[in-house]
């Protein structure tokens, strides 16, 4: 192999399928982590609104703590430190630790998005629910969340893309996702240019169209929202 050539096509074609296969690990870590983040994020935001102060403060503290520490540290903690904790420690395989780490970390951001969505539901919707004698749970499920979530879907989409681009961090705890595979290939052949470039291109190939899609969704939501808003302002003027 000629070391002086900057880019060797033959070599690139050789390693591409190997890296491409590892994309499924990247994608499944992203999706599983995201689902976990969606569920936990909702739990956090509901718990923080609880009138039971001990619960809301505890959860508030946990959320702030997770958000203020680096994901990489959390990943190492889950993978290396957590199994050593007496009584509750369990050894996690690298992939599971990675998914939990990603999901937990991003759940704290998503909980803020849920919060903004919930707060954007007009107070009158809560009052109408009380007037119709809905229970707390019925009010959440039937009235508040169906209005709180659709407008923030684009923001969820943005975080999905951010999360996807953060998955190479999982290489640090030996998850064989795309970056890790390319590093392994590189260390064997001492050529890093092709494999790492391919990883970058694959990320670009997936995240750029997704970003466009999210932007499109955002625009549509914004149009819908401003239409509704315009109507409200008119009503307020006639008061």
């Amino acid at each position: 192999m000629n070391v002086t050539t900057i880019w060797n096509w033959e070599y690139a074609f050789l390693v591409f399928p190997v890296i491409f296969r590892a994309m499924w690990v990247t994608l499944s870590a992203t999706l599983l982590g995201f689902v976990l983040a969606l569920v936990l994020g909702l739990v956090w935001s509901l718990a923080r609104r609880s009138s039971f102060k001990i619960l809301s403060w505890t959860v508030g503290g946990i959320v702030e703590f997770i958000r203020s520490t680096p994901l990489l540290v959390q990943l190492f903690f889950l993978y290396m430190a957590f199994p050593q904790i007496p009584y509750i420690g369990v050894a996690l395989d690298a992939f599971t630790a990675g998914v939990i780490g990603l999901g937990l970390h991003y759940s704290t951001y998503l909980s803020e998005i849920y919060r903004s969505g919930i707060e954007s539901v007009p107070k009158g919707q809560w009052e109408a629910s009380t007037a119709l004698n809905f229970s707390k749970t019925q009010t959440w499920i039937k009235v508040i969340l169906p209005q709180a979530i659709p407008p923030v879907l684009p923001m969820f989409g943005n975080y999905l893309i951010v999360m996807f681009k953060e998955t190479p961090l999982l290489a640090a705890i030996s998850v064989v996702e795309m970056l890790n595979v390319s590093l392994i290939i590189g260390s064997k052949s001492f050529r890093y240019i092709e494999p790492i470039t391919i990883v970058g291109l694959l990320f670009l190939l997936l995240s750029y169209p997704s970003a466009l899609l999210v932007r499109h969704l955002e625009k549509r939501m914004k149009n819908r929202y401003s239409r509704e808003k315009k109507k409200v302002t008119r009503e307020e003027v006639t008061l």
């Binding site: 009052e127 109408a128 007037a131 119709l132 809905f134 229970s135 019925q138 209005q147």
Partner: protein
């Protein structure tokens, strides 16, 4: 004080309301927001089926009174009774303790409310707006609820809008849906909180007609907060004038509007006559 208020409307309840046990009683009810006392020791009874119009300048406490009855605001002191039961309190071993959620929900089921801003659920069709609560909260079978809601929506002139969404309707239409939604629950007391104040002037009439139509039926008590004096005159059995947190004067529409006794009510009515 109240003379022939019922004649005017030819309501089905012919007997004088004061002989019935009140459906709603406010007893020495006060409410403060911070340092501001908006209601001061209010006593007010509403008889079953009675139509009470609350009038008065803004900031007089009318809306707060209704909101406490709907459990949207908590009284600072005093008690409210609905259908013979305490609303905000429970009696435990002869002592009054704050009511829990379950108690509130049970007593609240007697009351319905229509808001100034309609507050329809924008993500549901008109029909679903009207059937969701009766099915979920009252456990009425779906078929029956749909029939009830459809009849009611037809009655308010929106039988052809069942599948429309609130944003596709005019303000007046939305408010008529809101009224239908509340009536389908068949509350014993219905609160109307300035339901035409947010509407363009040409849409006010259609909403008032719907309320008059309901009032004629007679069996539902109504507490109507309004700035439409002609409407109050026509629909109410009793008009209550509030100012600065007090009930200043009350009586039959005739007595209140044609023969006001207090200076405050006189000047309030004068201002309305002059079209302010």
């Amino acid at each position: 004080m109240r003379i022939d208020a019922t004649e005017k409307l030819q309501t089905t309840t012919v007997q004088p309301h004061e002989q019935l046990k009140p459906i709603v009683r406010f007893m020495r009810v006060s409410k403060s927001f911070g340092d501001l006392e908006v209601l001061k020791q209010i006593d007010l009874d509403i008889a079953p089926g009675e139509k009470v119009a609350l009038i008065g300048p803004s900031g007089s406490g009318k809306t707060t009174l209704a909101r406490m009855l709907m459990t949207l605001e908590k009284p600072t002191s005093g008690v409210i009774e609905v259908n013979g039961e305490l609303l905000w309190h429970k009696e435990v071993n002869g002592k009054l303790v704050p009511a829990d959620q379950k108690h509130l929900r049970r007593v609240r089921s007697n009351i319905g409310m229509v808001f100034q801003q309609y507050n329809l659920f924008p993500h549901m069709t008109i029909l679903r707006n009207c059937i969701e609560a009766p099915i979920l909260v009252q456990g009425i079978p779906k078929d029956e609820t749909i029939k009830r809601a459809t009849d009611m929506l037809e009655r308010v002139g929106l039988g052809d809008k069942l599948d429309a969404y609130p944003s596709q309707l005019s303000g007046g239409q939305q408010q008529r849906v809101a009224i239908a939604r509340a009536v389908v629950m068949r509350p014993k007391v219905m609160l109307f909180d300035e339901v035409t104040s947010a509407l363009d002037p040409e849409l006010v009439g259609e909403v008032l007609e719907v309320i008059k139509d309901l009032a004629r039926e007679g069996d539902m008590a109504m507490m109507i907060i309004t700035h439409e004096m002609d409407f109050a005159y026509e629909v109410a059995d009793r008009v209550v004038f509030m100012d600065q947190g007090y009930i200043v004067e009350q009586g039959s529409p005739k007595a209140v509007f044609e023969n006001p006794k207090t200076e405050r009510l006189k000047s309030f009515i004068r201002r309305f006559r002059n079209g302010v």
